[in-house]
Amino acid sequence: MLELAAVLFLVSIGVFLLLSLVPGDPAVAVLGEGRTPQEYAAMRHELGLDQPLLARYGDWLGGVLHGDLGTSLVPPQTGVLERIGSALPVSLELAVLGLVLALLIALPLAMWSAYHQGGRADRAISAATFGLLSMPSFLIGIVLIALLVDGLGLFARNEWVRIGDSIGGNLHHAFLPALTIALMEAAMFTRILRGDLVTTLHEDFILAARARGMSPLRIMLSDALRPSSFSLVTVLGLSIGRLVGSTVIVEYLFALPGMGKLVIDAANQGNYPVVQGAVLVIALVYVASNALIDRSYGLLDPRTRRAHA
């Protein structure tokens, strides 16, 4: 837990400094252009920007520790926490849904591919995953929209439905963006897991399991999958953090009010409290998901349990 706190502390410094050092005057962002220097100076004073850096950091950090991330500079001038509170669930849902879909696609493909290593299915799957990986994610999104929305009319293009309002409507709307994310991630997961599975399948204990009369499917699920899933689980942890913060393109494509859109819009407007708060929260998600992943290694391999305890 101490490490986590240390990481977050460093992130807070980084976020704060980065935005204080970038060019652009927040006072201009608030008031717009064409005001007198006096008005800008007054605004800077009001925002506390005439204080020394350390004092401003202390103020901000004090606020953060009390759950106050500040107020948006640009209208609507709501609290940063509220803005994040409405964007984060969208991004989290998208990330989790996308990763679940990705795993549902990747696990069977990787197992099939590894079992028929070097065979036709393996080569086809390998080519397909390479193709997906080399494609920009927005292209996948556009293709999916063209195919499933405009072509087949399976999904309608409409406003985001909050999960609290209608679970069905929410899932219906979230499915396509989640699938867009999932295809990308699934391609990567498939490659990673296939590689590890191929290595594991050459292990003696796999041959030994065969020699005990176990069926190929059973050996795959019960003997090979778990020892092969370390890289996958590690990447999964990184993916959660990454997806929460950087699905901007997908969010724009599908008009989703998520974290990526929040950060980019705020950054464009010079709305630094929102950027600071959002980046900090994304870092928190990142650190938390990776901490969880670290804990899960013990579940995957009993040999690592002693070392942790």
Binding site: G118, G119, E203, D204, F205, L207, A208, A209, R210, A211, R212, G213, M214, S215, S222, D223, R226, P227, L300, D301, P302, R303
Partner: protein, 330 residues
């Protein structure tokens, strides 16, 4: 003599590699009666492990492998069975003990799971029943506190204990044939004898047949009824273990025996070795494969492959100049 449990006829295993075909097993025949034990000896690379796996059917014809000849186990051709039928043999008919207990147990599975899943797969018994049988099996292979061991993971056990677990797993469904592939090579010297004696006593108790694959002649001597000496994928000599080791007919067997260090030797006795290396199995020599390293080799040996000839005492030897002729006939 009763009907054979295992009958191997002219078995060949060829691996198709990018560097050409490798004839790992090249026309080996033998048979095994119920309860009989056979030692399969030879240097590393002589094809004995591949032979064991091919006999079991773990290695079969595929994209990169061609198996020919026949293996009859209890009258059924192992390689002609459908995969699902073959899997039903693995456990109740034939089982294998592997070389390295550090790698042949799944590190993420409890000891007990290895046993119970095998039992439940073949005997269709309840979980509780399987656990009870598993504990009993661990007890039979001499593992103390078997109930506690069942819940442990392989890494919590010593090498010798792990190999006992591997043996217990192999014995779980009471196979009629046990193939032990270098079962003691990866173990401490002090543990090797214990494991070999355990195997020998289990084989005797259960009238189970055993193929003991080993490069260690000492492991095979005294624990097997018959011995088959392999060199470069072929059988060079076979027969009852004691007479073969007492007076080998084939120069290779003789050289192997001579290269065993003996306690009776005076200090600083030079250890005899066999000059040279086993042949590259991608391009084996034309005639007798041992000819380039053999002290008795003649021009004929380099050209003509010797055929196995029956010699008195139920023995066979594949050599143009067997020692019986050279030395005893002189």
């Amino acid at each position: 003599m009763s009907t054979p449990l295992l009958e191997v006829t002219d078995l060949r295993t060829v691996f198709h590699t990018p560097r050409g075909d490798v004839h790992a097993v090249d026309g080996v025949s033998f048979s095994l009666a119920p309860g009989e034990s056979l030692g399969l000896v030879g240097e590393s690379g002589s094809g004995k492990s591949v032979l064991g796996r091919t006999v079991m059917g773990l290695i079969g014809s595929g994209a990169t492998t061609t198996v020919s000849g026949s293996v009859l186990l209890g009258g059924r051709s192992v390689h002609d069975l459908r995969p699902a039928e073959r899997r039903r043999l693995w456990g109740p008919e034939v089982a294998m003990v592997f070389q390295d207990p550090m790698t042949s147990l799944n590190p993420v599975k409890r000891v007990g799971t290895h046993l119970t899943e095998t039992l439940r797969r073949h005997l269709r018994c309840s979980r509780a029943d399987a656990v009870e049988r598993g504990i009993d099996l661990l007890r039979q292979v001499g593992i103390p506190e078997p109930a506690r061991r069942m819940r442990q993971y392989p890494h919590e056990l010593s090498g010798g204990m792990r190999q006992r677990v591997v043996i217990a797993t192999a014995l779980a469904c009471d196979p009629r044939l046990l193939i032990a592939d270098e079962p003691t090579t990866a173990l401490d010297v002090t543990v090797q004898k214990q494991i070999l004696d355990l195997l020998a006593s289990l084989v005797a108790e259960r009238t189970m047949a055993m193929v003991l694959v080993s490069h260690d002649l000492g492991a095979v001597a005294g624990r097997t009824d018959r011995v088959q000496v392999m060199y470069a994928g072929r059988t060079v000599e076979s027969g009852p273990t004691r007479p073969v080791f007492a007076a080998p007919d084939h120069p290779y067997t003789d050289a192997l025996l001579a290269s065993i260090p003996r306690l009776g030797n005076p200090p600083h006795t030079l250890l005899r070795t066999i000059e040279g290396n086993p042949p590259d199995m991608g391009r084996p020599p034309e005639g007798c494969r041992f000819a380039p390293r053999c002290g008795f080799a003649s021009a004929r040996c380099a050209e003509e492959q010797p055929v196995a000839a029956v010699v008195p005492g139920g023995r066979e030897v594949a050599c143009h100049h067997p020692i019986l002729e050279v030395s005893r006939g002189r």
